[in-house]
């Protein structure tokens, strides 16, 4: 976290000169100096950093240079859109990725599996934005079934505005979510398959077969649980990937989320927004990692008791 805060802070210090972005060419030198003072840009660097940390902890990231509004308000507006998109994509990726992975591992020589695998490789090779463009071209431009941009109507639940309560909202989220989730789906599919094949080759699976256990019990009782242990880590890492690629998806679909905010901020060197985004994103990464670690302990009993050290003779 601290590292990210430092990066974000460094960013705000060295990336361009915000003053020239905020004021026009015709501003006088005095105006600029006054603004500098007001923003605290003349203080020593460590002081600025401490202030930055303190402000960030309170959720205060300053004022957007471009939009002239407090960053936290902008984020609060945009956060629900991105989180909804990421959540729907993640559910989509897991709900299809894991079962398909298991299927292709168990029936690895059937033509259906080979077909799924070939398709999945295409999925890996299809860059997110290309997929988005294709979907828009087919379903919005040609068939006109789906909206090509935006979230559709949203409903406010306190500070959270959701698009998931209306049919149009769902219609709007399907294409972005598929776009964002497909790459992760293929990754999860291939990972589950590889892990499952690995587990199915182990001695304890062979021993389970030798005890006459039913296939169902072996595949879903014994093999699956061992398969999921590494899958949890990768899925955790992939939540980060989803957040990163939401930038791309939001750009393609003009989805009013944080990613779009960020990429616009990058183009305008709107530093407060950029650093706020980074801090928030890394906060999410850290939380996801924590959850992954906890899940790990729940799934794997070996981590619950003290580690046994293997010895060398």
């Amino acid at each position: 976290m601290l590292v990210v805060a430092l990066v974000a802070f460094t960013l705000s210090n060295f990336v361009g000169d915000p003053i020239s972005n905020m004021v026009g060419q015709e501003a006088t030198l005095e105006d600029r100096e006054a603004l500098r003072e007001q923003l605290g840009l003349n203080d020593p660097v460590p002081v600025q950093f401490v202030r930055f940390i303190g402000d960030a902890a309170r959720g205060d990231f300053g004022i957007s240079y471009r939009l002239q509004r407090p960053v936290q308000d902008l984020i609060a507006e945009r956060l629900p859109a991105t989180l909804e998109l990421v959540a729907v994509s993640a559910v989509f990726a897991l709900a299809f990725g894991i079962p398909l992975g298991i299927f292709t591992a168990l029936y690895r020589n059937s033509w259906v599996s080979r077909f799924i695998l070939t398709i999945s490789l295409a999925g890996v090779s299809l860059p997110t934005f290309v997929l988005g463009i294709l979907l828009i071209y087919v379903f919005s431009v040609t068939l006109q079934w789906m909206p090509s941009f935006g979230r559709g109507p949203t409903a406010d639940l306190g500070w959270w505005s959701t698009g998931l309560l209306s049919f149009d909202g769902w219609r709007a989220i399907i294409m972005p979510a598929v776009t964002l989730g497909l790459y992760q789906l293929t990754l999860i599919l291939r990972l589950v398959r590889a892990e499952m094949l690995e587990v199915l080759r182990t001695d304890y699976i062979k021993f389970a077969r030798a005890r006459g256990l039913k296939n169902r019990a072996i595949n879903f009782g014994h093999a699956l649980k061992n398969t999921l242990i590494p899958v949890i880590t990768i899925t955790g890492l992939n939540i980060g990937g989803l957040i990163a690629f939401s930038i791309v998806t939001e750009t393609v679909f003009q989805w009013p989320g944080m990613g779009l905010l960020f990429i616009q901020a990058v183009q305008f060197a709107d530093v407060p927004v950029m650093s706020a985004y980074l801090v928030l994103a890394s906060l999410i990464f850290v939380m996801v990692n924590l959850i992954v670690d906890i899940l790990y302990v729940v799934v794997d009993p070996r981590l619950r008791t003290e580690r046994r050290v293997t010895q060398r003779s």
Partner: protein, 325 residues
């Protein structure tokens, strides 16, 4: 006595991209109820594949290419999956080499035992649990009632192998196939596991097929022994006959190559060369290129098992003697 297990002309094939490998060929043997048969051989002899073929667990693309396997009155090598599954664990139990990897690390040993019991027997959860504790006690695990809730990694190597044995014996199988059950263990633990295995087989009246590379383990444990070389049985007979008066030149070489405790400083007798790879098994008697006694027929015709002194061996030398008499 009627044999419990009858293996007739078993042939195991593994098709590869380049050729058809035949790592086990024309293997026949019988095991009587309560008998312990040792299958001994060096790596690549096909002894483990023979064991796997009996219980129907050859790894694809390996398959039984020819021959028959009978358990009791029933032929079991051509059964559909549903039927052979019911035999595994119920009528044939199997023990693998490495106790560290034979148990599923994410489930308690109790769960694995109970699952095995309930798969084959109509038991309630509490009945199965009670039986599981009994089984653990039987294999010599102290404080079984508490340890049943522990995970495999909480057991030592020897204790884990005891758990593996209790799992294999859970449903009182008539036949136990033990594939190198002590190879991964220290000598002192090995001695205990062998003793346990012998005692349990006797108590349960089960027949045992003990696959091992260690002639010492076989000699201590078994009633009869089959010596395998390059996928075939080259000699079979009572253990003491095979150990003391081996008929096949390979068995003779093998026995002479084993260093004896406190033996004198003499050079060990040794067989030249090594076991052929399964894609290069010589014609005729597979052992002939290494055999010090080979003569005319050896590189042409494959010898069948023939009656010798004490044991049967697949060697033309026996035929020659008979012919000469």
């Amino acid at each position: 006595m009627v044999a419990l297990l009858k293996v007739k002309n078993l042939r195991v094939e593994i098709p590869t991209r380049r050729e058809l490998l035949v790592p086990v060929d024309d293997v026949s043997f019988e095991i009587a109820p309560g008998e312990i048969l040792g299958v001994v051989g060096e790596s690549g002899a096909g002894k483990s594949l023979t064991g796997a073929a009996v219980i129907g667990l050859l790894e694809p693309p390996g398959r039984v290419g020819a021959g028959e396997i009978h358990l009791g009155n029933r032929r079991i090598d051509n059964l559909p999956y549903r039927e052979i599954r019911k035999i595994r664990g119920r009528e044939i139990g199997m023990i693998f080499q490495d106790p560290l990897t034979s148990l599923n690390p994410v489930y308690t040993i109790g769960r694995q035992l109970i699952e095995t019991l309930q798969t084959h027997q109509d038991l309630t959860q509490s009945q199965a649990k009670a039986r599981a504790i009994e089984l653990l006690q039987e294999v010599g695990i102290p404080a079984a009632a508490e340890r049943i809730n522990q995970y495999p990694h909480q057991f030592s190597g020897g204790m884990r192998q005891r758990v593996v044995i209790s799992l294999a014996l859970a449903n009182n199988p008539k036949l136990i196939i033990a594939d190198e059950p002590t190879t991964a263990l220290d000598v002192s633990v090995q001695a205990q596991i062998i003793k346990l295995l012998k005692r349990l087989a006797a108590d349960h009246g089960a027949a045992v097929m003990l696959v091992s590379h260690d002639m010492g383990v076989i000699a201590e444990t078994c009633d009869r022994v089959a010596v395998m070389y390059a996928g075939r049985i080259v000699e079979i007979g009572e253990v003491h006959n095979v150990v003391e008066r081996p008929n096949h030149p390979y068995t003779q070489g093998l026995m002479a190559a084993i260093p004896r405790l406190g033996g004198k400083d003499e050079t060990l007798a040794h067989i030249k060369g090594s076991m052929p790879r399964p894609n290069a098994i010589p014609n005729g008697c597979a052992f002939h290129p290494r055999c010090p006694h080979r003569f005319k027929p050896c590189d042409r015709d494959r010898p069948d098992l023939m009656k010798g002194q004490g044991s049967e061996a697949a060697c033309w030398l026996l035929q020659k003697e008979k012919a000469n008499v």
